[in-house]
Symmetry: C2
């Protein structure tokens, strides 16, 4: 039997899944507690207020994204595999009926405490700058082709993928495939 992971992280795992499926205001400590097989007071022990939970949720997601992109950088992965790797991660989310934490939190941004809002901003910066670096590198290597500034194109790309995940919830994952195919075609250097 595997060693039981510490409760604090398990709570975040469950809360993250609920956030991505339902949004922050549509799940409760009771939901987490029952999935974890404890009482809701146990959740409050680890995250006294739901606001604390929100901060921890976004912060962990951001750290994880950070590590993920740093690893890709270390491996010196080529532009297209880097791009496809992100695409695949999103596809996995969609198939579990989830959307990106960033997209959900962006939609719910106005209802979040300032502390959470700052975390969301940092997360957004990080995702956009990942794509910005990737696009720049790909352009230099002749792998990607696009108009204008890499930073601007990166912002558009991120918006597109966030929107695509949300639209895929509404009309099914076919929507996501269409969007991604179009993205690939538009990034490919023309013959």
């Amino acid at each position: 039997m595997a060693v039981k992971r510490d409760t604090k992280n398990q709570i975040l795992d469950i809360a993250e899944a609920l956030l991505q499926e339902r949004g922050f205001h549509a799940f409760s400590y009771q939901h987490i507690a029952s999935k974890l097989g404890v009482k809701n007071a146990a959740i409050h022990y680890h995250y006294p207020s739901k606001n604390d939970l929100a901060v921890a949720l976004v912060a962990r997601y951001r750290r994880r994204f950070s590590r993920w992109s740093e690893n890709l950088a270390k491996e010196n992965a080529a532009p297209w595999p880097c791009f496809e790797s992100y695409i695949e991660t999103c596809r996995y989310l969609i198939e579990s009926n989830k959307i990106c934490v960033l997209g959900m939190m962006a939609a719910e941004f106005n209802t979040m405490a300032e502390e959470v809002q700052r975390e969301i901003q940092l997360l957004q910066d990080e995702v956009v700058s990942y794509f910005s670096d990737l696009l720049k590198r790909g352009q230099e290597q002749g792998e990607f082709s696009f108009l204008g500034d890499a930073a601007h194109k990166a912002l558009v790309l991120t918006c597109q993928l966030q929107g695509a995940m949300q639209f895929a919830q509404v009309k099914g994952s076919g929507v996501y495939n269409v969007v991604v195919d179009q993205l690939r075609a538009e990034l490919k250097p023309q013959a």
Copy 2:
């Protein structure tokens, strides 16, 4: 003094604004009632359950979009002004700290009753097909240039704009301007 609009529509106006600012699960009948200067029982008289309200909200939004796009069609407006008109409508939303009803409902899709989900799907279809027709027309007239199918490009464009509105909440309306500028540049036929 202006004639008092009927309560039923005023409720929808207020609920729509709250939905766009905060999301469906982050406003209550009390919020609506106090803004309207009545008691919450009055809201329940017009919309017995919150689910009824959700259906009415999306349905009205869809009818309004329908009329809006039909009027543009009747006027035989040129492709670029049609495009810019939509862009401006979205800009106005952002400046009021709101996002599109479609974007919010797409994020919250999983928590909605089936009846509401069907309305959201119809709304999404309608928006995408508006852009699909527009892009096709613009391409035929040599005003727009893009790769692949107009219907596919329309889907991408809609995702982009929904994402841009959400990201503008997080980092300010500058984000929206960057995205829109990029979109314009990419649609313009190359010299």
